[in-house]
Structure formats: structure tokens, C-alpha cells
């Protein structure tokens, strides 16, 4: 489903970014980077209201020819960005929402680990933390390849 999943920290640097290896990964990185502007725009637009009322799911950030980019921001200003193939029209908004919810849950699980310092990369090398997170992301991305 998703072609690229990225978790970006509050300071706008990536904590975790993963894309399907079929394409040029740099392109996805660039897309995620540029989508951050849109995210900030959306946050500031909604941000005037109380934080409680701000919805976490930002929806479609911007569509390109081949891809659609969706965004989601947590209350601690950690952003999730998901790039989805446009040809995959079967994907509905609800599904995207559920995917983001799963992402968010996995992310909080990573956070709960006291050995994880907030701001560290969520890496899953060497059997360290982020294993579950990585597996979950893989489950979201595998069908595409």
C-alpha cells in the first residue's frame, strides 16, 4: 500500500524513513521533505484553535502524478508522512487513517521503551528497538512490492 513511510521529529529531521526499494529512494526523501512545508501550513492553519480540537490526521497533503502524500501529526509535533501510489485507487481515506493510527501506536510503543531517547533514530538494525515498529511498517509496505 504505502510506498514510503517517514517519521519526522519535531525539529523536522527524520527519525525514520523507509521506502520500497524499487525506485530511486532519493525521490521519496525529497518528496517527504517538501511535504513538510505543507504539513506546517496545515498545522498553523488549524493551530489557532486549541490543540485539542486539532485533528491528528491531516489528510492528503498534495497529489502528484504518480503519488499521493498523506500526513499525520501527533500532539508532540512528530509528523508521519506516507507516500502512496496513485495507481492504487482502492485505498480509501479510512484505510489511510487506520494505517496512520497503527503507525502512531507503534511509535508510542517505541517511546515507552525507556532505553529509547526521544530524538534518536528508530533503527531496527542489530535487534534493537524499533523492531516491532519496523515490522509494522513492513506490513504496510509489502503488498506494494
Amino acid at each position: 500500500m504505502a510506498v514510503c513511510v517517514a517519521v519526522i521529529a519535531k525539529e523536522n529531521y527524520p527519525l525514520y524513513i523507509r521506502s520500497t526499494p524499487t525506485e530511486n529512494e532519493l525521490k521519496f526523501h525529497y518528496m517527504v521533505h517538501t511535504s513538510l512545508d505543507v504539513v506546517d501550513e496545515k498545522i498553523s492553519a488549524m493551530g489557532k484553535a486549541l490543540v485539542d480540537q486539532r485533528e491528528l490526521y491531516l489528510g492528503l497533503l498534495y497529489p502528484t502524478e504518480d503519488y499521493k502524500v498523506y500526513g499525520y501529526v501527533t500532539n508532540s509535533k512528530v509528523k508521519f508522512v506516507m507516500v502512496v501510489d496513485s495507481s492504487n485507487t482502492a485505498l480509501r481515506d479510512n484505510e489511510i487513517r487506520s494505517m496512520f493510527r497503527k503507525l502512531h501506536n507503534s511509535y508510542t510503543d517505541v517511546m515507552c521503551n525507556p532505553f529509547y531517547n526521544p530524538g534518536d533514530r528508530i533503527q531496527s538494525r542489530f535487534v534493537c528497538l524499533g523492531r516491532a515498529f519496523d515490522n509494522m511498517v513492513t506490513s504496510m509496505m509489502i503488498p506494494v512490492c
Partner: protein, 671 residues
């Protein structure tokens, strides 16, 4: 049969290697086994060795001895083994070359699977042969990772000889866990034997040399791990082992517990003593067994295990089932067990093993044992732990020290402390008392004074800091009654005024020749102080106690530690005075105690005056005058006391009345 077998073998082996199709796993296993068998004989390992340096191009045979041992370990009947050896061609050829060896292994696998021992059977897909020897630990180890990596199919035949396996395993694993901590962890998902090759190549020769020595070790009940490592393993293994031993000392106790406990089914099963130990550690961090250990506390604790952070975070991921950032008792036990296993060299599992699931742990080990049963377990664990404790391990003691310090800061009466301390000192060696003292509050209290000297961890220091400020309210009359030495009184005297706020410590010296009038003045000032204090302390100290103390204090030159600092303060100022009269008092003191109400206290205070006194009638008279004066002062103070008590009662009643009024008025105001 034999001819046919020989012919088949000849046909198979004589012309070259038979079409042996080995899977990759089999290939690796067999090459390892071959290396093991070959290495023992001093010859080079077989083809495909993990390290090329070891290859001796000349001899590529496996010695018959280890091979025979290996075959016997497969637990096949002897005749089957004979058949196999014949079939594979070793008999014909006279030695076990790699080809023969591999064929033999495959035949063993076939036989174990129930297939007939034929050349044809090896053509099909077979499971890996299983060996159950203790000497050839490699087989067991070899079989183990496959199990550890989730299959768990072949676990049941890990016998109790696993103890030896584990120990030898530890040696190897230690070697390689220190340096390539990451690489074996990376490989488990891919190929279990791959992981084994590294330790094999490094440690095999050492293992073989120490195998004999290692044998006695596992069969000793409580043999600490360090000893076999340090002593029994011969030359080459000793140094790297020692080096690693120092690094992993903090958890060596748990390893011993594990080694000595029988792994009934799996390495992930927690035994009773392990469970107890984990529970004690849990208790040290969090006295309430049903609540959580927070993440930061657990993090500090587990960091002491010297495992790498990624490993620890992975262990956390596995064990914190509900992902709430806190560990319950079961989760904590699971995490601890995983850490211990990892320290012992087991690769971490992909998922939480079923025996470590919190529900399983809760069901298997009901929690109730905190209070009474721990006393039993205390005595049981005591001899068990004594031997491991004998070895000096700094980090271990540090871990224990955290266990020592209970979070509970109950006030301890001095005499209780003393009593417990003395009994503990008698009963336990110093090292042991730290750990077994943990489960009990009372025992932990007695361990507390001693454990303070070992502080080395942050938790411990924090807890110590937390403990130090709330000093117990001093009850010096008890200490006084119990005190058999001047020292105790001396100890309490400076401490009592120090803890109590307010008045400055008494002046160290007074004019050397105070006349009786001065004595009286001092008594008056004392009386003033007493009046102030009486209001405060009247609830706590009964009048009966007060009076004897007051009478005692002036009359005795000893440093009797009073319950109040006012009386106390009367002491030091009076002390220089008293000292003058000491020669006179000495004789009278012996009589005085009999007149004083609290006999033992006075008896105690009489003793500290060892100085030999000269007596004169003049001194006696002066003493008697002083006595009279003191008695008068005493009477005055007693009257004062009763008056103040009356006042206090009235004030109390007034207060109650006012409170009642307030309550009546309050509903009015609220509305």
C-alpha cells in the same frame, strides 16, 4: 548384508564422493562437527572451515576417538552405529575423511528419523542428526540455536548435562559476545549454524582441552561459575575468560543459579530460585509486588548488566508486553531472565517465549510470598547463596546493595538495630547478609547499616539519601536502658541535639569552679528549658519517666542520654561541674543508683566511671548538699510539670471547643 553394505560403501565412497546432497544447514553443521572431531586430534579441520588459518592441508581426517564419542552421543544402538560406519566407508578406508564423516552423519540422521540405514536413505531430505553428549558440547550447542531460534522442536532432549554445555558455552559465547556483540545478533534470523561457527573456530581447541576439566564442574551443586572458568579451564581459556568474567560479574550469580538449576524444558523457563531472585530484585526496586517499576528505574537497573543499549531496548520490547513503559513483576522477571540468558550467551529470541509470557509467569508463580514465606525462603536461599557470595564480585555486591536498601524507611529504635545487628553479625557472613536480608523488612533494616558501606550505585545512593534525612525520633531512654557502654550514650548525645532543631549545642566547657549557687542557677535555667520542652513532649513522655530522668540527670555524673534535649543540655553544662565532684560522687553514685527508679539505667551509667576516686568527708558533705539542692530542684520541676500539664489539658479542651464551634459555623458560611 555386510558384503552388500561394504560393496555399496565401496561403490559409494571408493569412486569418489557419493551424490550427497546436503542442505546449507546440514553443510554447516557437518563441517562444524567434522572440525570438532578433527580438531581434537590435532589435525586440521575439515573443508570449509570458518578460519582458514586452522586448516592443515595434510591431515583432513577426524580422529576415531571423538568420532566414536559423537556417534555414541547420537544414542543409536551400537549395531546401527557399526552399520553406519561401514556404510560410510570409514571402515573400508580406515579413517574418517570428510566424505565418510558426512555420510555417517547423514546416516545417523536417517537412523534417528527411523529410516533404515542405507545409502539410499541419505538421498532424501533429513533433519539434522541429534546428539546428546555432554563432552561434545558442540553438538548440543549446535542443536540448540535451532531451537532457540524459535523452532523449539528439538528442545526436549536437552538433558541436564546442559549444565556443562552451558558453562562451556559461556566460555565461547563470552569470547564472542564481547567483541562482536552485534554480529551474532544479526545472524540469528538468517542461519543458526552460522552463529555457531564463530565460537567454534575461536574456542574449540580450548574447549577440548578443558572439556575434561569442565566435567566435574557441572556436577557440583553450587559451583560458582567463576571458579571453573578461572581455575579449571586451562591455559588458553583462562585469560580471556577472566577478562570477560570481570565484565559480567554483576550477573554471574544469576548465571550460577541458572547453571546449577536444571533446564527442564527450555532455556526460557524460569526456575524457582531464579524466580525468587528476580522477585527479590523487584522488591528492592519497588516494595509493592503488585505495582510497577517505572521505566527509568528499570533502565538504570538493567544498564548495570553491561549489556549494550540496543540489546537492552530489544529485551524491553520483548518483555514489556503491554507497552506501557513500566514493568510488572512478571514482566520484570521475564526481562531479567532474558538479560541473564543473553549474558550467558543465548541469542535473544525473536519473540517472547511462551514460558516468559506474563500470564504464564503469573500462573506459574503465584505472588503471595512476600511476607511470611520469605522467611522460610530466606533460610533456604541462605546456604544456597553463601557459596556464590564467597567470591568477591564488586558489581554483584552493587546489584545486591540495591536489593538491600528497602524503600521503607521505618523508624528503628536504636536497641532494635543493635540487637538485630548483633544477631546478624553472628549469623551471617558479611557478603551473604546483603542479599538474603532483602526479603524482610526487619532483616533489611539490620542489613541497612552495613550495606551503607558498600554504596556504589545510583539507585542505592538515591535511596540512601532518601533514608538518611528521616532519622527516627530518638528514644534515648531505651538506649539508655540498654546501653552497656558509655559509647552508645556518647553517640546519642551529640546526635540528639544535632537532630533536634533549635538550641545550640551546649558549650564545651564551663568555668571550672562553679559554686553551689552556680549549680542552682544552672538548674534554674534548665528548669526554664524544661518548661518549654514539657509542653512539646508531654504527650510523648510520661511523667513517670520524666521525673526519674530529671532526678537522675542531676544526680549522676554519667552522660545519661535523656529523652529531651533540655535534660540533655543539663548534662554537658553540668559535666564539668560533675567532674569536679566525681571523686566525691563516685562513692555516692554507687548508692544513688539504688535510690533511683530506673535501676538498669543508672547501673549502666555508673559503670562508665572507671576513674578511681579519692574520698574525703568534705567532698561528701558537698555532695550531700548538692544532692539536697538537686532534690529541691527536682521537686520544683515536678510541680512545674504538673502545672503545665494542667494547662495543657485546659488548652486542649479549649481547642476542641473551638473546633466544634468552627464546624457548627462552617455549614452556615458555606451556604
Amino acid at each position: 548384508m555386510e558384503a552388500a553394505a561394504a560393496a555399496a560403501a565401496g561403490g559409494g565412497c571408493g569412486s569418489g564422493p557419493p551424490p550427497l546432497l546436503l542442505s546449507e544447514g546440514e553443510q554447516q553443521c557437518y563441517s562444524e562437527l567434522f572440525a570438532r572431531c578433527a580438531g581434537a586430534a590435532g589435525g586440521g579441520p575439515g573443508p570449509g572451515p570458518p578460519e582458514a588459518a586452522r586448516v592443515a592441508p595434510g591431515t583432513v581426517t577426524a580422529a576415531a576417538g571423538p568420532v566414536a564419542d559423537l556417534f555414541r552421543a547420537s544414542q543409536l544402538p551400537a549395531e546401527t552405529l557399526h552399520q553406519i560406519t561401514e556404510l560410510c566407508g570409514a571402515k573400508r578406508v580406515g579413517y574418517f575423511g570428510p566424505t565418510q564423516f558426512y555420510i555417517a552423519l547423514k546416516l545417523i540422521a536417517a537412523a534417528q528419523s527411523g529410516l533404515p540405514v542405507r545409502i539410499e536413505s541419505i538421498k532424501c531430505e533429513l533433519p539434522l542428526p541429534r546428539f546428546m553428549m555432554s563432552k561434545n558440547d558442540g553438538e548440543i550447542r549446535f542443536g540448540n540455536p535451532a531451537e532457540l531460534h524459535g523452532t523449539k522442536v528439538q528442545i526436549p532432549y536437552l538433558t541436564t548435562e546442559k549444565n556443562s554445555f552451558k558453562r562451556m558455552d559461556d566460555e565461547d559465547k563470552q569470547q564472542e559476545t564481547q567483541s562482536p556483540t552485534m554480529s551474532p545478533l544479526a545472524s540469528p534470523p538468517s542461519s543458526p549454524p552460522h552463529y555457531q561457527r564463530v565460537p567454534l573456530s575461536h574456542g574449540y581447541s580450548k574447549l577440548r582441552s578443558s572439556a575434561e576439566q569442565m566435567h566435574p564442574a557441572p556436577y557440583e551443586a553450587r559451583q560458582p561459575l567463576v571458579q571453573p572458568e578461572g581455575s579449571s579451564s586451562g591455559g588458553p581459556g583462562t585469560k580471556p575468560l577472566r577478562h570477560q568474567t570481570s565484565l559480567i560479574r554483576s550477573f554471574s550469580v544469576e548465571r550460577e543459579l541458572q547453571d546449577n538449576s536444571s533446564y527442564l524444558d527450555e532455556p526460557w523457563r524460569i526456575t524457582e530460585e531464579q524466580r525468587e531472585y528476580y522477585v527479590n530484585q523487584f522488591r528492592s526496586l519497588q516494595p509493592d509486588p503488585s505495582s510497577f517499576i517505572s521505566g527509568s528505574v528499570a533502565k538504570n537497573f538493567f544498564t548495570k548488566s553491561k549489556l549494550s543499549i540496543p540489546e537492552l531496548s530489544y529485551i524491553w520490547e520483548l518483555s514489556d508486553a503491554d507497552c506501557d513503559g513500566a514493568l510488572t513483576l512478571s514482566e520484570f522477571c521475564a526481562a531479567f531472565h532474558l538479560i541473564v540468558a543473553r549474558k550467558n550467551g543465548y541469542p535473544l529470541p525473536e519473540g517472547l517465549p511462551p514460558t516468559l509470557q506474563p500470564e504464564y509467569l503469573q500462573a506459574a508463580f503465584p505472588k503471595p510470598k512476600w511476607d511470611c514465606q520469605l522467611f522460610d525462603s530466606y533460610s533456604e536461599s541462605l546456604p544456597a547463596n553463601q557459596q556464590p557470595r564467597d567470591l568477591n564480585r564488586m558489581e554483584k555486591t552493587s546489584v545486591k546493595d540495591t536489593a538491600d536498601l528497602p524503600v521503607s524507611t521505618q523508624d528503628v529504635t536504636g536497641d532494635d538495630k543493635q540487637a538485630l545487628k548483633s544477631t546478624v553479625n553472628e549469623a551471617l557472613p558479611k557478603d551473604v547478609s546483603e542479599d538474603p536480608a532483602t526479603p524482610k523488612d526487619s532483616n533489611s533494616l539490620k542489613a541497612r547499616p552495613r550495606s551503607r558501606s558498600y554504596s556504589s550505585t545510583s539507585i542505592e545512593e538515591a535511596m540512601k539519601r532518601g533514608e538518611d534525612p528521616p532519622t527516627p525520633p530518638p528514644r534515648p531512654q531505651k538506649t539508655h536502658s540498654r546501653a552497656s557502654s558509655l559509647d552508645l550514650n556518647k553517640v546519642f548525645q551529640p546526635s540528639v541535639p544535632a537532630t533536634k532543631s533549635g538550641l545550640l549545642p551546649p558549650p564545651p566547657a564551663l568555668p571550672p569552679r562553679p559554686c553551689p549557687s552556680q549549680i542552682w542557677a544552672i538548674m534554674n535555667s534548665v528548669a526554664v528549658n524544661i518548661c518549654i520542652q514539657v509542653v512539646e513532649w508531654s504527650e510523648q513522655v510520661s511523667e513517670a519517666e520524666l521525673l526519674p530522668q530529671l532526678s537522675r540527670a542531676p544526680s549522676q555524673a554519667a552522660e545519661s542520654s535523656p529523652s529531651k534535649k533540655d535534660v540533655l543540655y543539663s548534662q554537658p553544662p553540668s559535666k564539668p561541674i560533675r567532674r569536679k565532684f566525681r571523686p566525691e560522687n563516685q562513692a555516692t553514685e554507687n548508692q544513688e543508683p539504688s535510690t533511683v527508679a530506673s535501676g538498669p539505667a543508672s547501673a549502666a551509667t555508673v559503670k562508665p566511671h572507671p576513674t578511681v576516686q579519692k574520698q574525703s568527708s568534705k567532698q561528701k558533705k558537698a555532695i550531700q548538699t548538692a544532692i539536697r539542692k538537686n532534690k529541691e530542684a527536682n521537686a520544683v520541676l515536678a510541680r512545674l510539670n504538673s502545672e503545665l500539664q494542667q494547662q495543657l489539658k485546659e488548652v486542649h479542651q479549649e481547642r476542641i471547643a473551638l473546633e466544634n464551634q468552627l464546624e457548627q459555623l462552617r455549614p452556615v458560611t458555606v451556604l
